[in-house]
Amino acid sequence: MTAVNMVEALNKGLHEAMTADDRVVVLGEDVAKTGGVFRVTAGLLDRFGDDRVVDTPLAEAGIVGSAIGMAVYGLLPVAEIQFDSFVYPGFEQIVVHAARYAWRTKGEVPASIVIRIPYGGGVRMPELHSDSPESLFVHTPGLKVVCPSTPADARNMILAAIEDPDPVIFMEPKRIYRAGRQEIPDEPPFTVGNGSPNGALNEYLSKARVAREGDDLAIFTYGATVPLTIDAAEKLAREERVEARVVDLRSLYPLDVHAIEKAASECRRALVVHEAPRTAGVGAEVSSLIHERVMLDLEAPVGRVTGYDAPFPQFANEDDYLPSVDRIFAGAKKVLEF
């Protein structure tokens, strides 16, 4: 076991995948020589050489599009988008090609790529370095969208994303990249490239995780708001004697509907928390699913605590925009007091 933060965990997973399967290649802006602006790909160039770890020209459609081509040929490319908002120039390639290649080839040639996107606010960066665009991908058929919130999940999920034949949008909550360390096993949970151990994909790419036990309120969230939500739950326990169950969704598409149903109906009250804007976000989907499926079990409408429907602000005001422990707490109380 080694104690690692999320950046190190991702880095470890990438090393493991590249060691296990020489079809895995890493490409993106500044990923090789410097190891990425967040250092997630550090050391890969030295270890695997410049054929497999490539600093590309500055062009996201080119990055995503050529990664698709490499996948069609038979490689397993992992592309980095430097920051959230810079995925938009690659959007067409993702929507019209990555998401539809399997469909367009009788399921025989999926665009087996992973697109890593450090996303979200809280790191005091200028405009357009703090977006949370995951809902756009969740709404796009043909993609998988996942988001880890712990180092252990990050390592397992990046391995599974690479193993998965389908294109995976891999959202990395940059705010908690180095928020804390966690012991993870030295050995990977499975070996990439060994003929799709479907159990592993299922385990690491489609299942939600209960991050805190409780029976009075179910709070669904993912990424950087998971630790905040746990803090809010602790505060609820302390101040309101309410035990909230915190469910880390992990997979945003497909959603783990059974875990969602179970938690919502067992707790009878539910709240969804995310950073992305509210309207037509993941929270809207989770809320709709719960109402559709278990409304009769509910004592109150499902609440939403989210980023606002406004552009992510200049950073001096980002703490006003982001869901905080207090806002989650208040949102929970509203559901509880309904």
Binding site: T56, G62, G65, Y73, L75, W103, R104, K106, P110, P254
Partner: protein
């Protein structure tokens, strides 16, 4: 700017050039066979559309040399990526012609799609220029794997305006992939003439921006198209990187079966270019050299007709795909839970009565006046 490469003259003022040594007589006959097959498919497809047996169709009549000539220069391991215009290119590599027809009939799944790895032929690509980065990625991957494969992508003059064209050209030149960017400059993008598409005198000169060779070729001349493509692939394989080819020709026909060019151009101009169309020109050329006689031509045409007729039969023998096709092959890793629920929803109601293999043939005024594909 660079001269236009040409081998086949017009039998009058324009003299024939040298046929490259590597092209034996049997190659020339085979190339002719390809041209005829493409032409036969295209003409039949237009007829099928008129009869309402397939949907809107993007015809390529007159552009066969850019397709057959270039493909004939490829090795078997080389990958090719068509736009919608080169929709039938796969039939020269083993994709069933009925599959291509089925695509135009609106069929997906196993009926209208193919596995690109089977024949190293990319899918028909509708969004302009978006397949160019794929061609680069394939050649890049081959390079990483130290395989001999190169790649080639066809696209139009209009496609050069898209960002994806630029990004692909740049990636290919930086990564020195063995990729041929084959631009079919037919001088029109639907109703937009090339003069409104770009301010550069030629398309070939755009290669300068990437430190890449740019070549112009007569797009109605299959042997010249073969030659420039062969040279480009040769250079690419030896590590010389990508090449931009501008095949200069003209879109003699409408943009697609729903387009009416009289709205935006003088059709006399098309007539002028029609005289240069490649199938007749190649036939004349082969006759001048006594490589082709009437009987042989007849036979080639008959075989092509037969193949396409069989394809039409095969296409029409396909049962209308079931509703489940909506959820087939979306994920290679298996169906997510919501697909199963969606199927339940689908099966709850009777299948819409109005589902026919096809709607009526496109009639302007019926809400189907879209003429792009």
């Amino acid at each position: 700017m660079s001269e236009i490469v040409r081998v086949i003259g017009n039998g009058a003022d324009l003299a024939d050039g040298e046929v490259p040594n590597e092209l034996a007589e049997k190659d020339l006959i085979e190339l002719f066979r390809w041209l005829v097959l493409l032409r036969t498919f295209d003409e039949r497809a237009v007829a099928l559309q008129r009869q309402g047996r397939i949907g809107t169709y993007a015809l390529y009549w007159g552009e066969e040399a850019t397709q057959a000539g270039a493909l004939y220069a490829c090795e078997d391991a080389d990958w090719v990526f068509p736009s919608y215009r080169q929709n039938a290119i796969g039939i020269l590599r083993g994709v069933p012609a009925s599959t291509v027809l089925a695509w135009w009939r609106g069929y997906g799944g196993t009926h209208g799609f193919w596995n690109p790895r089977d024949h190293r032929v990319g899918p028909i690509t509708v969004p302009i220029a978006t397949h160019l980065p794929h061609a680069v990625g394939v050649a890049w991957a081959a390079k990483i794997r130290k395989d001999r494969a190169s790649s080639l992508a066809w696209f139009g003059d209009g496609a050069t305006s898209e960002g994806d064209f630029h990004e692909a050209m740049n990636f290919a030149s930086v990564l020195k992939t063995s990729t041929v960017f084959f631009c079919v400059n037919n001088q029109w993008a639907i109703s937009t003439p090339i003069s409104k598409q770009m301010a550069s005198e030629t398309i070939a000169q755009k290669a300068v921006a990437y430190g890449m060779p740019g070549v112009r070729v007569d797009g109605f001349d299959p042997i010249a198209c073969w030659k420039v493509t062969r040279d480009a692939l040769e250079r690419g394989r030896q590590g010389g990187g990508p090449t931009l080819i501008e095949a200069y020709c003209y879109r003699i026909m409408p943009h697609g079966t729903a387009d009416d060019p009289r709205l935006y151009r003088d059709e006399a101009e098309s007539e002028h270019w029609r005289a240069l169309e490649p199938v007749g020109r190649m036939a004349e050329f082969l006759r001048r050299r006594s490589i082709l006689d009437d009987a042989q031509e007849e036979q080639i045409r008959a075989e092509a007709k037969q193949l396409v007729a069989q394809a039409v039969t095969d296409m029409e023998a396909i049962a209308h795909p079931g509703q489940e096709i909506l959820f087939d092959h979306v994920y290679a890793s298996g169906r997510p839970w919501n697909f199963d629920e969606a199927l339940d929803e689908l099966h709850q109601v009777e299948r819409p009565a109005e589902v026919k293999p096809l709607g009526p043939p496109t009639t302007p005024g019926a809400g189907e006046e879209g003429k792009t594909i």
